[in-house]
């Protein structure tokens, strides 16, 4: 008898427990009624991660239920993207995506997604700056000098990047620059921008072609390193007189640091999120964090974002077509 009571008591407390946790029993018109999971494509500590967390912090001030960041690193951002793609479109699973996560996988060997309509594009909340950096002692003070030298010494230009042409958008842009300049660089792939930074400081490579982050800028400010160009169109504040690939060749990198959801998110959910994020990007703390990481805050609402994505996708598709043609030619 006692045993049965004991068991009943335990079961009872369990039901109570379930009841006090968040159950979405009723169809409540007010979104959100429970915490929202947001998948981050990079591991904790990186600039994408920190920017997203800062945004989430700011957004949570305007939400009845918090957004909870969850790191799902790997595959250059595809793992998080896949998690979003396959989630239920109820607005409780979202993700962050960057240009490398969006525009390179559709053209890789085994594309996890062939086009970007499998996502709902919500807002864009920032972007990156990609400087090309050399050591101060290097013989090239400007981009011109560098490309001239590189043309004559292709095997001696050791350019450090984080990925390959099929996984990192910057590598694709560099390849386009090579075509324009009729030069050839030697690429050395590293696992992360920190490794590229130590490689250039140690003199093992002579050019750095990765993201700018909080670790790199002090060296530029101190004068140990020098920026000679930018990939894309964004520049570091205070260093705007250095040309970008947009200035030089008209080659841009789409500004993409966006919040996405699975395909088919209900309109009211997207509207609500848009509202909240629009306020979040104006939040003082958010802007401060982004400034410290030298990431420009570029906001796009869902219409503008979708337009940009479609344009960027078409442009990238053409670029990859050309790349594959060239590679096929070289194989022969």
């Amino acid at each position: 008898m006692k045993r049965i009571m004991f068991i009943l008591g335990l079961v009872g407390s369990w039901v109570f427990l379930l009841g006090t946790s968040n159950l979405a029993w009723a169809k409540d018109p007010d979104y959100p009624v429970r915490p929202i999971e947001l998948y981050l494509p990079m591991s904790a500590g990186g600039s994408t991660d920190l920017a997203s967390r800062a945004l989430i912090n700011a957004a949570n001030k305007h939400l009845p239920q918090p957004i909870v960041p969850i790191n799902k690193p790997g595959g250059g951002g595809t793992i998080a993207a896949m998690a979003v793609k396959t989630a239920k479109p109820d607005g409780y699973a979202l993700g962050t995506i960057t240009m490398s996560g969006a525009l390179t996988p559709p053209f890789s060997e085994q594309p996890p997604y062939k086009d970007l309509n499998c996502f709902t594009w919500i807002v864009n909340f920032g972007t990156f700056v990609f400087p090309v950096i050399v050591k101060n002692e290097a013989p090239w003070k400007t981009w011109r000098e560098f490309t001239e030298w590189a043309r004559k010494n292709p095997r001696a230009t050791k350019l450090g990047i984080t990925g390959s042409k099929y996984s990192d958008y910057k590598a694709l842009v560099l390849w386009q620059v090579e075509q324009q300049e009729k030069a050839k660089f030697t690429y050395i792939a590293f696992k992360g921008s920190a490794e590229v930074l130590s490689a250039i400081l140690g003199g093992h490579i002579n050019v750095y072609g990765s993201t700018v982050d909080a670790a790199t800028m002090p060296y530029v400010q101190k004068g140990d390193l020098r920026i000679i160009a930018y990939l894309g169109n964004n520049k570091v504040k205070g260093y705007e007189d250095i040309p970008s690939t947009k200035d030089l060749y008209g080659i841009e990198i789409p500004d993409l640091l966006a919040i996405i959801g699975p395909q088919g998110l209900p309109d009211q959910v997207v509207k609500k999120l848009e509202e909240v994020f629009a306020k979040a990007v104006k939040d003082r703390e958010y802007v401060e964090v982004m400034n410290r990481m030298h990431m420009p805050v570029i906001y796009m609402d869902r219409v503008t974002l979708k337009k940009q994505i479609d344009e960027a996708f078409a442009y990238t598709a053409k670029a990859y077509e050309k790349l594959k043609e060239e590679e096929a030619k070289e194989k022969k």
């Binding site: 690193p73 095997r155 990925g163 050395i188 670790a215």
Partner: protein
């Protein structure tokens, strides 16, 4: 001396009540996280990151750093008690520690692990204080060729990780390299042995891998037998703390482990995992009784546990002095500092020395707290060995399942863990050692990367490994290590063959 002055100033900040509280919280959480297999410091630190926004930068670092080195203390607990590595750096502790537990000596094992961790941790802090700038510039000079030569030496260590056949150890190492390199090729972008699983693009995660190989396989091996009232160790548990003999045997390994761990920790990508393997191999090599290893040699616990804690101190050096993180945890700390408006690096020591010294002081305090925390816990942990296995093993399995899931919040990892559990189970049945495979798994991808990077840097010439001074030293060391382990092996084989011939010749063929 200026250093002592700075340190004193640091202590005066670290001893402030609030900061002590944060230090304690950090190390407490760290210990618990270290004990729970699978859930590592990174996940917890990123969880607590938003909580630290309200604190000032010093407090934030105190808490986060506490979690990191606290986890190094706790990691050995499950390794010793149930053969499940709490995290990658504790794999080696399983080899000797678990055997000691099975002989009723879990208490001394846990005790030596705790003391060794304290000494290693403090030693590396002293190194951090005194040598940081010098070592930092040295660390920068380590490029791909130097790293490659260190890895060559590291791979030869594989031979010391087995108590059985060396051929099989090498086989397992080769397999480890294959498994470790699965994923997307960083250079060409091609998918290697991914079989369509996008989760594998960044490779097999270390945690499900080792939890399956060691933890799950151990459970499988145990449940085969009749369980009834069995516990992990039958009989009375006598010693709770290391005795004099244990201490005598452990002093030198602890000293060696501190130095080795500290130096390895400075290397990029090095850190606690590699240092623990290296220390184990070193202890086995210098030991007068290498046969003891594999059946509960306390040196095999003392050295590696000290080394992995010493490595944590070493890994702070590139972060604080250069602003460059040498592993994922440091990257997270960097992020935390940035959010708080502090940029570590060459400017930090000049502009903001307060931060450096108070964090260092706090880490000393933290290590002390950890020892005080962990010692009484030994009695509690040892009771685990008395729990009937048939109640214990479902709990172990649950821990492993959750732990594997928590790494990437993915079911796939759990499935992988089970797969490796089966592999580990079969391997142990047929007498193949897992430790060489784990080391090769960790080192393999780095080995490939640095080889390719080096060859790209040298335009295809292998001479780069011998023309650069540091790299050349490393390569010579690797060759010497290889020869010094292979030659005795060959000699032993020849002697055995000669002996057998003598026996056959003397007795004659028996039909």
């Amino acid at each position: 001396m200026e250093i002592l002055q700075n340190l004193f100033a640091g202590f005066s900040i670290a001893f402030v009540a609030v900061n002590l509280f944060y230090c304690f919280t950090g190390v407490l959480i760290g210990t618990l996280i270290g004990v729970l297999p699978g859930i590592g410091p990174v996940a917890t630190m990123s969880l607590l990151l938003p909580v630290t926004y309200k604190m000032d930068p010093i407090q934030a670092i105190i808490v986060l750093a506490g979690i990191y080195y606290g986890a190094m203390y706790g990691g050995s607990t499950t390794s010793i008690l149930v053969n499940i590595p709490g995290e990658a750096a504790s794999v080696v502790t399983c080899l000797e520690g678990y055997k000691m537990a099975q002989k009723g000596r879990a208490g001394p094992a846990l005790g030596i692990a705790a003391f060794g961790s304290l000494i290693g941790g403090c030693f590396s802090l002293i190194g951090l204080m005194l040598l940081a700038p010098t070592l930092a510039s040295f660390a920068l000079r380590i490029g791909p060729p130097e790293f490659f030569s260190f890895l060559c030496t590291g791979l030869t260590v594989v031979i010391y990780l087995t108590s059985g056949s060396i051929i099989r150890a090498l086989m397992m190492a080769a397999l480890g390299i294959i498994l470790g390199c699965i994923g997307q090729d960083p250079e060409s972008g091609s998918f290697r042995f991914v079989f369509g699983f996008h989760h594998l693009l960044s490779g097999i995660d270390l945690v499900p891998f080792i939890m399956g190989l060691f933890g799950i396989s151990e459970v499988f091996l145990n449940i085969e037998k009749r369980l009834q009232k069995r516990t992990i160790y039958e009989g009375d548990i006598k010693d709770l703390l290391p005795n004099l003999q244990d201490w005598k045997g452990s002093i030198k390994p602890i000293l060696r482990g501190s130095i080795l761990g500290f130096l390895v920790g400075i290397l990029p990508g090095g850190g606690p995992v590699i240092s623990s393997f290296a220390s184990y191999a070193m202890e086995k090599k210098v030991s007068k009784h290498p046969e003891k290893f594999g059946s509960g040699a306390i040196e095999g616990v003392a050295g590696p546990e000290t080394a992995n804690n010493a490595a944590t101190g070493g890994s702070f050096i590139p972060l604080f002095t250069l602003g460059i993180p040498s592993n994922v945890v440091m990257a997270l700390l960097l992020g935390a500092l940035v959010i708080h408006g502090v940029t570590p690096g060459p400017l930090l020591m000049q502009q903001n020395p307060k931060i450096f010294w108070s964090v260092v002081a706090s880490m000393f305090i933290g290590n002390g707290m950890l020892l005080v925390l962990n010692l009484p816990l030994i009695w509690i942990w040892v009771q685990v060995l008395k729990v009937p296995y048939r109640i214990l093993f479902p709990l172990i399995l649950l821990f492993c399942l959750v732990g594997a899931y928590s790494v990437n919040n993915s079911n796939f990892d759990v499935a992988l863990m089970l797969l490796f559990g089966v592999l580990g189970y079969l391997m142990r049945k047929f007498k193949y050692d897992a430790a060489p495979m784990v080391l090769a798994f960790v080192l393999g991808p780095m080995f490939e990367n640095s080889l390719r990077q080096s060859l790209l840097l040298s335009d295809g010439s292998f001479g780069i490994f011998f023309t650069r001074p540091v790299a050349a030293v490393g390569m010579v060391a690797a060759i010497l290590m290889l020869l010094s382990s292979v030659i005795p092996f060959i000699r032993k084989k020849r002697r055995r063959i000669l002996e057998e011939e003598a026996v056959d010749g003397g007795i004659g063929k028996i039909n």
